[in-house]
């Protein structure tokens, strides 16, 4: 496998034959087994699967917080060697700095980037407004509800202007109503400020509602089980969830997640979807 050169039309994220094993008390646990996946620019993919299927491991590798045992993860054609502001990460546990206000949290990465106080403030203001936390800009995280905390974390990730957003079950700890609201808001934000998004979840409805493409994973060993394209008519609003198209897709994903055939796996790279064009010069 040669490293692909970054081209305009090339995938933003390429995962090439990534295997990650952990040593659990002398026993080898295969979290990811030969996983290959491409994500196009500005694509919104969701990754869904049972626990232990390695979906968080995959995200950590792309974030640069973990390294594969073999294979490689590429962003814009370059191997991932560590975390960087080109990939924003949103954690399930919010991970806000509790001693900083909403504003200072959003400014955190901007300060790292060396922006002046004035520029930081202006930029932070924009993204705090974007997630609707304007009147809470000077509140500490302890004063916020779970949903508000996660909106703050989304603003913080957006503020450093990453081309990729990696979201690890961001709404997993929220109540059902808040979750639905935040899903709609996230899509709304995404349609305005396009990014390549990889969204990890264990909620099948959420996976279908948000995605252009749903990647279904399986456990033991962790692998890609199926890839399901999501083409839904009209805007993604509450009504869509009741449409027959949505129900049908959801049922397909559901059965892929919960009635898995042992041993099945697919290649989720672009070359697998479209037969590779002869000799890309």
């Amino acid at each position: 496998m040669t490293t692909t050169t970054p081209t305009a039309g090339g995938p933003r994220i390429s995962v090439r034959n990534v295997t990650r094993t952990f040593d659990l008390k002398g026993e080898e646990f295969v979290a990811l087994d030969d996983v290959s996946l491409d994500v196009a620019d500005n694509e919104f993919i969701t990754v869904v699967g049972p626990s232990g299927c390695g979906k968080s491991t995959l995200m950590n590798i792309l974030a640069g917080l973990d390294t594969p045992t073999s294979g490689e993860a590429l962003v814009d054609g370059r191997p991932v060697t560590g975390p960087g502001p080109d990939r924003g990460v949103i954690f399930q546990q919010y991970a806000l700095f509790p001693w900083l206000t909403v504003r200072k949290n959003v400014e955190f990465g901007l300060k790292t980037a060396g922006l002046s106080a004035k520029d930081r403030r202006e930029k932070a203001e924009h993204f705090i407004e974007m997630v609707g936390l304007g009147e809470f800009a000077d509140a500490l995280p302890k004063m916020l509800s779970g949903g508000m905390k996660q909106r703050c974390a989304i603003a913080r990730a957006y503020a450093v202007d990453p081309s990729i957003l990696l979201m690890d079950e961001p709404f997993g700890a929220l109540d059902a109503l808040t979750r639905v609201k935040l899903q709609e808001q996230l899509l709304d934000t995404w349609s305005r400020e396009k990014r390549t998004v990889m969204f990890i979840t264990h909620d099948v409805d959420e996976a279908v509602f948000l995605a252009n493409r749903v990647v279904v994973m399986a456990a033991r060993p962790g692998r890609i089980y199926d890839v399901i394209d999501v083409e839904l008519p009209g805007p993604r609003t509450e009504d869509l969830r009741l449409s027959p198209e949505f129900t049908e897709l959801r049922n397909r994903v559901w059965s892929a997640v919960y009635h898995q055939t042992p041993g099945r796996r697919v290649d989720a790279t672009h070359r697998a979807i479209a037969p590779s064009p002869t000799a890309v010069a």
Binding site: L65, L96, P98, W99, F108, M143, K181, Q185
Partner: protein
């Protein structure tokens, strides 16, 4: 964009949003807030009253015991002696001498303990090098060092400050170390994915996250320093509350011993409250459950 986000704030999570907006707008629902405040202050007044009654009763019992023949000075005797010692300047001089020792020893102990604790928590090699010494010396009561300190440092201020320093140092170093070790990994990862490098993570994440632990260590350290004081002043001191009580013991002067005890207790309490105040100011961001 604005319209969408505003509706979200209004509709999203009704319960929590209202309580949070009440915090953000102090004038929201004035009647309920003032009623709540009045209830709180009434409760506080009742607690204070009970404390006052308890203290008065304690002094009453003490008075009673001394008047029915126990070998105790009466509260009045103690007040008179306290006044005498204040007027002739003895108490003031003793106070300054003792406070200087405690504060110098405590300050030095804390100043050394915080960086050492950070070093141990942040670098595995530093932990490996330092920890066995700390764990070993921690088990020796600082007072047991006194004979050694006298032989090595003589009978001046140095041995006294040394033992107080040790008492404060060990309490604070362990606590700081724990603070660094306990920093939430997710927060460190959150800083890393925002592009922050190790030095930045240390200053902007590890240090603030450890502050609550450091302050607890300082409070314990101050208590330990204060507890070591009197014994340290048995080392041929010429002044100090411990020395004064030691002298009084020779002359069977119970009122002076009582004055010394009360002053030590009150000062310790005041210093602890001051640190508690600092703690509240510096760690108000913590979520308490």
């Amino acid at each position: 964009m604005a319209s969408m986000t505003e509706t979200v704030t209004a509709r999203d999570e009704p319960g929590t949003a209202t309580s949070a907006s009440a915090l953000a707008e102090p004038n929201a629902e004035p009647s309920r807030r003032t009623r709540r405040a009045r209830q709180d202050s009434a409760k506080r007044a009742r607690t204070l009253l009970l404390s006052a009654i308890s203290i008065a009763a304690g002094i009453g019992v003490w008075w009673l015991l001394s008047s029915i023949g126990f070998k105790l000075p009466s509260p009045a005797d103690v007040v008179v002696r306290g006044w005498e010692l204040t007027v002739d300047g003895t108490l003031g001089a003793d106070l300054v001498a003792s406070l200087t020792r405690v504060l110098v020893g405590f300050a030095l102990g804390t100043i050394v303990a915080i960086p050492v604790g950070f070093l141990m928590g942040w670098y595995a090699w530093a932990r490996g090098l330092i920890e066995p010494w700390i764990q070993f010396f921690r088990t020796i009561p600082p007072l047991a060092i006194i004979p050694l300190a006298i032989v090595l440092l003589g009978i001046g201020e140095e041995p006294k400050i040394l033992v107080i320093f040790l008492a404060a140092f060990f309490a604070c170093v362990i606590s700081t170390f724990q603070g660094v070790v306990n920093v939430d990994r997710t927060l460190i990862n959150a800083a890393r994915v925002l592009g922050t490098k190790d030095a930045g993570i240390f200053v902007r994440v590890v240090v603030p996250a450890s502050v609550p632990f450091i302050l607890v260590g300082m409070r314990v350290g101050l208590g330990a320093a204060w507890a070591t004081l009197v014994a340290a002043e048995l080392i041929a001191a010429q002044q100090g509350l411990g020395y004064r009580m030691q002298q009084a013991q020779l002359y069977y002067d119970l009122p002076t011993i009582f004055v010394g005890l009360i002053v030590i207790g009150v000062l310790g309490l005041v210093m602890d409250r001051l640190l508690l105040l600092a703690e509240k100011k510096l760690t108000g961001w913590q979520e308490r459950r």
